[in-house]
């Protein structure tokens, strides 16, 4: 399971990166990065996964005393939440930029924004 999740996650990252680096349309790039971020999140969760265990919530199903044996690692889950939110923030920011770029220059082709160079 974990391997599949990780492999999928890595694959998504690679796909995302490939997309971001080959598409010169800004919106496509943003989408590609979102894909890559999803991959990262998948990897994060995947790393914390342990076969045959349950979610880290203590209730009747999982008593406090047995928790150590029953639950999976809760930390990656906490981390992934943060990662998702941050990814969201960055994506929002990029979208905003895309909008402003379009407003000022009327194009979303990143290869047109090369007045700063060398």
């Amino acid at each position: 399971m974990a391997y599949i999740a990780l492999a999928t996650g890595f694959l998504l990252i690679l796909i995302g990166l490939y997309g971001a680096l080959t598409h010169s349309h800004i919106l496509r790039m943003i989408v590609a990065f979102t894909v890559a971020n999803t991959g990262v999140n998948l990897v994060l969760v995947g790393v914390g996964y342990m076969g045959g265990r349950t979610a880290p919530i203590l209730d009747k199903a999982v008593e406090v005393s047995a928790a150590a044996q029953r639950i999976i690692d809760p930390l990656p889950q906490a981390l992934v939440l943060t990662a998702i939110v941050i990814g969201l923030g960055v994506t929002a920011l990029m979208l905003t930029y895309a909008y402003r770029l379009y407003v000022t220059r009327g194009t979303l082709d990143i290869s047109r924004y090369t007045e700063l160079k060398w």
Partner: protein, 241 residues
């Protein structure tokens, strides 16, 4: 073509690196020391049933504060960019342009009615998710996002609706401030910054338990909801042009 090939090569090299990670990876059989601590001590230390929530709000509260700040930042910047008092084609003229634009096509009956029906439900569900964050899966972020989805629905049904921007901004700032203050209270009253023991831990598993976690979660939820809403509002405005 060469560029694509190059990129492909690079991505594949990254792939090779990742594959090394993958090969080197072996799932843990046992919880590691940190996780074991959380599994065994969360209940007694924080009183939260949802260990992830405990970690998010308390153990790694500083991360969460940062996370909330990220949202705040994102919202503020989106606002900054889009309100754009700065150079370029000043969107202040957009509001004037807006009047000349043809009105949007009327929203469908289904959407209008659905909105009226669903929004209160959504808001309620959001509130539920927030307050039960320390017990069940969910919490401030999830709840906040649900709250914001209500807002999204409202915007979809009536794109020209103006929702109290000011209110949203006060909510986001206030809840953020409250989060920080709660953290400082932890510093003053309990074991450290963002310690949840400033309030009694209560009965494990009940609604009013886990010290300050639910309180913080409420603020987080409010804040997240407000941030998302503000971002949505700001992005919606771009549509007006």
């Amino acid at each position: 073509m060469i560029k694509r090939f190059l990129v492909l090569l690079l991505v594949l090299s990254m792939g090779v690196m990742f594959s090394q990670l993958l090969v080197g990876y072996s799932p843990d059989r046992q919880l590691n020391a940190t996780a074991h601590y959380y599994a065994t001590q969360t209940a007694s230390e924080t009183g939260a049933a949802n260990i992830v929530s405990a970690i998010i709000v308390t153990y790694r509260g500083l991360d969460t504060l940062g996370e909330v700040t990220v949202l705040f930042l994102a919202a503020a910047i989106v606002g900054m960019v889009l309100s754009a008092k700065q150079g370029g084609q000043s969107p202040t003229s957009a509001s004037e342009a807006e009047r000349q634009l043809p009105p949007y096509p009327p929203v469908g009956e289904l959407l209008a009615t659905g909105t009226q029906l669903l929004v209160p439900l959504i808001l309620m569900f959001g509130a539920y998710v927030i307050v039960n964050g320390h017990l069940t899966p969910g919490g401030g972020f999830q709840g906040g996002a649900i709250l914001a989805s209500g807002m999204l629905l409202l915007l979809l049904s009536d794109p020209l609706r103006t929702i109290g921007h000011r209110l949203i901004s006060v909510v986001e700032s206030f809840s953020g401030l409250a989060f920080v203050l709660l953290g400082i209270l932890g510093l003053l009253l309990a074991g450290g910054f963002l310690d949840n023991k400033i309030l009694p831990l209560g009965t494990f598993g009940s609604l009013f338990s886990a010290g300050a976690i639910p309180v913080i979660y409420i603020f987080i939820g409010l804040k997240v909801g407000a941030e998302f809403s503000s971002m949505l509002l700001n992005l919606a405005k771009t549509e007006e042009r």
